[in-house]
Each structure stands twice: as C-alpha cells, then as structure tokens.
C-alpha cells in the first residue's frame, strides 16, 4: 500500500444562505481513487477550480471526506487521535509564501513545526540547520522573511516542513506567485529532496514544465482524475490536454503541430534535445 491512498473519495462544499438552508452543493472532489507510492515525485495537474487544493487538504487531514476514505501511511485521516501523526508524516506547503510564514526570523520559522511536535531544544537546532542547508537557505537563517524574494520564502517554507522529518511533502501550487527564476529554485530543491532524502513529493501545479521530470502525473478535471501516467504518456495526449484547458510545454506543442502537418514524429516529446534528435532522424 502506498504512502497516500484514497478510496472513492468524494468531497462536497455545501453553500448555505443566511437561514442555514442549503443553497447549492459543489462537488470539489468526485470519487477519486489514488495509490501514491512512497519515494516518488508525483505531480497533480489541473486548471483552476478542478479540485486540486481540496484533494491536497485531505492528505493533510485539514478536511474530512464527505464520502470515502483517505489513508496516509496507513492512518485513516478521519481518526482524530492520528491527526498530528498524519500532519507530521505528510507536511504541506501552500501557495502564498506570505500567508504561511508565522515567525519573524527565518530560523525561528523553520523551528516552529518541530516546537509544535515537542522536539527537544538541541535537536530543534540541529534540524533547523540541516533543513536550511538542504534548501540552500542557511546563510539567511538570521534574516527576516519579509526581506526575502518569493522563491526564497517558499524555500524557507519547505525547510519548515523538512524540519519535521515528514515522509511526504505536499505542495499546493508553491510556484504560482513566483517569477520564473524563483520557480526554478523551488522545483530543483524539490527534486533534490526527493533524490537525496528520499522524501515523497506531491506537487500540485498548473505549469506543465514543472512536471516533465516527475515519476508519475495525475490530471484532474472537475473533481475527477481523468488521466494518469508518466509525463511522456500524459503529454502524448496534447489534444485532450488542450481540451482540459491545460497548456502543453512549448516543445511538445511544436512537435504536435509538426506531426499534424504530416511529419512523422513520436508521441510525447518532452525536451528540445529529443525534438532535435527526432527531426535529424527524419531528415537523415
């Protein structure tokens, strides 16, 4: 069984008017069955409102399923006694760096999680040092988070989770508010953590470039998982992705258009190098 598993997971937001009568129901997550393997780099794609955030909150026991079950490392998220263990096992990083930083000093911010779970003082300092080094922010440990760039803030937020020694980190569009260089910083830190520390990464995003190196990709639409597979398998369905209002990476798009124009190219080209190689092969 995987690190995160869901069975027939459904979640409904119920809107009520002032008297408390039900006005409408939004099914944000609709009968989702997932089995995410430990140690992988997993990406979840989907356009705005497709239910990604709601799904992610289930993995951290921030919301309870309307129907179905979620297990994190074998623990049922409905079990209140396990809530803290679940949150320690599966840490969560949010979209807006400003709204998730609690402390006024980088090192204190990273220490906040370990403090909450009762780690002894000396050990907290060790963990803060290790995790700041792991995200390359150690030299900023005495700085105020307000003075950092967006990418640096998100790296601090990631360090804050890493310091709790989770098996799995869930990131809900961590790069949505960053500039391209900040985005690269964050994504490469995530790959580093995944490779070196063997932390499972669940990256939620709508930037296709960020999922190219993932082990497994899931695509969500209207609360359902509509596609799953390796990045190559996913991107070979350029047309379907477009219908889901997702942009494929430029290179993949170009390859797709060339193919439409009659040039025989393989499906799901992901990088410039692959495209060059395929075109050279075609010419020669």
């Amino acid at each position: 069984m995987g690190i995160v598993r869901t069975e027939n997971l459904t979640f409904e937001y119920i809107r009520r008017d002032e008297e408390g009568n039900v006005e409408g129901i939004t099914t944000a997550v609709d009968n989702v069955n997932l089995d995410l393997q430990a140690g992988q780099f997993i990406a979840i794609l989907g356009h705005n409102g497709s239910g990604k955030s709601t799904l992610a909150k289930h993995f951290n026991a921030l919301v309870s399923p309307t129907e179905g079950t979620v297990w994190v490392d074998g623990m049922d998220t409905r079990d209140d006694a396990k809530t803290l263990d679940i949150r320690q096992t599966a840490g969560m990083v949010f979209q807006n760096p400003d709204n998730q930083i609690i402390c006024t000093l980088v090192e204190e911010e990273v220490g906040f999680g370990p403090e909450n779970i009762g780690v002894p003082t000396d050990e907290i300092w060790l963990r803060v040092e290790e995790s700041l080094k792991a995200v390359g922010m150690y030299q900023f440990r005495k700085a105020s988070p307000n003075k950092l760039s967006g990418g640096q803030k998100q790296r601090v937020a990631i360090a804050g989770i890493v310091a709790m020694k989770p098996k799995c980190i869930i990131l809900d569009e961590p790069t949505a508010m960053l500039d391209p260089s900040g985005r690269k910083e964050v994504i490469s830190v995530l790959h580093e953590l995944n490779k070196r520390e063997n932390v499972t990464i669940i990256l939620i995003t709508h930037y296709m470039e960020e999922v190219i190196d993932a082990d497994r990709v899931f695509v969500m639409d209207d609360g359902k998982i509509v596609l799953s597979g390796t990045p190559r398998e996913i991107f070979s369905q350029a047309e379907y992705l477009k219908r889901l209002r997702l942009d494929v990476p430029q290179v993949t798009e170009l390859a797709y258009e060339l193919k439409q124009a009659g040039i025989p190219l393989p499906d799901g080209i992901l990088t410039k190098e692959e495209l060059t190689a395929a075109l050279t092969a075609f010419k020669g």
């Binding site: 803290l84 320690q88 807006n96 709204n99 006024t104 403090e115 909450n116 803060v128």
Partner: protein, 271 residues
Amino acid sequence: MIRDITIGQYYQTKSVIHELDPRVKLMGTMVFIISLFFGKSIWMYLAVTVFLAAVIKLSRVPLKFIVKGLKAVLILIIFSAAFNLFLTDGEVVVRLWKLKITKEGIYQAVFMVIRLMYLIMGSSLMTLTTTPNNLTDALEKSLGFLKVIKVPVHEIAMIMSIALRFIPILIEETDKIMKAQMARGADFENGNLIKRAKAMVPVLVPLFISAFRRANELAMAMEARCYHGSEGRTKMKPLKYNRRDRIAYAVLAVYLCGIAALNIYMGGRII
C-alpha cells in the same frame, strides 16, 4: 507617513541589548516608563536622557530608526503640548487674546513632549531589539501565573506575535491599495476631515477582505504544521538568564533608586 510606524519592527544587528533576555528588556522598558512619570525636575530629565542615550548607543540601532517612530505620533505630541501650554494655571508670561501662557505651562508642555517622545523611543527600542517571538515568549513567561485563573496566556502571546509579524505586511498592502486608488483618482490629501475619512473607505474594505483571507490561510498553515496550543510544545529558544541579564537587572535597580533619590532630594522643585 504610513510607512513611518516603527512600532513592532525588529532591527537586525548584534549588540548587548539585542542579546539580553527579553524579560529584562520588558522590565527595563517598564522601569523606564515609570521613571519618566516620577518627578519633574530638570536633573531628573537629564538623568533619564543620559540613560536612554546610553541604551540607544549600546543597542547599535541607528537613532534615525528610533526617531522615525515619533513621526507617527507627532499630532498627539503637538496636541498634548498645546493643552499643557495654554491650560496650566500659574504665573502668566504671555497673554495672547483670550489665551495665556504661564511659566508653569511652558515647563509642563516641555516635560510632556519629552515624556511622550521618550515613551515612544523607549518602547520602540524594545521592539527594535527584540524579535516578536522573543517578546511574546517573555510576556508568556512573565504572565504565566495568570494561567492559574484560566487566562489563555499562551494564546494571547501567540496572537500578539502574529499581529506584530503582519504589521509590516498590512502596512505595505495599505500603501499599495492607496496608490491603486490614487491612480483611479482617489484623493486622500485634500478636503475636510469627513471627506478624507470617506476617501479611506475604498482602502479599508479591500484591506479587511485581504486581512481575513490571510488570517484564514495562516490558520490553516499553522494547523498543517501541527500547531495545537501550548500543550506538549517545546521551545527552540527557551528563556534563560545569563550573567549579563543579572547585571542588567542590577543596573535597572540602581537607575530606579537613583531617580527616586533625586526626586526626594529635589522635593518638587524644578531646578
């Protein structure tokens, strides 16, 4: 002007004052404020000034930062100076139409201005040299005895530290919204008080909405990081008194006794 508020901001540097236990600084600020309202002789103000100047020098915070905090309360200072100047009875020095300025009034006004200025400077110095976390830790620890009568000391301290962290963010946001509204033709500078207050409505509404959204997200982020109150929580920086803290307490005691002695000796005289 809105950017001038330095209360609650932290100035990062290395100094003896920065390294003092926050409880000492809390106590020191209290002692300093009390000493300000002790007496009214010129010698006492001289002693207070020397003490404040020495602490500022030791803290290595540029004076400019500390003075900046005064701008935000300038109006308050002017008002209280004017009240004291015109409304104190005594030996008349100048008579302006129906208003009279007395010798006592001048002293009162000058002292009041000094008191208010030092009050602000003293308390900004505390926040400039203490991280909000440290400060609230000190409050939590000093007021810990209130837990016995079910006062949620930890929660109050946490609320304070978050509020302090969000002050600069919200100030920046207010600035941004004001500029955005100005670009749309809003006028915050002209017109009478009511008109200017009305002009603030389109600033405050988006500010409140965004503050609530932030609060909501922050609460979730804290929960996600296993925050569940003070129960079972350890400290990364537990408060511990060192030698320099004991020295600082001694200095404070000497200072307070000195001021008190000076006042008894002066017995209400000004010079």
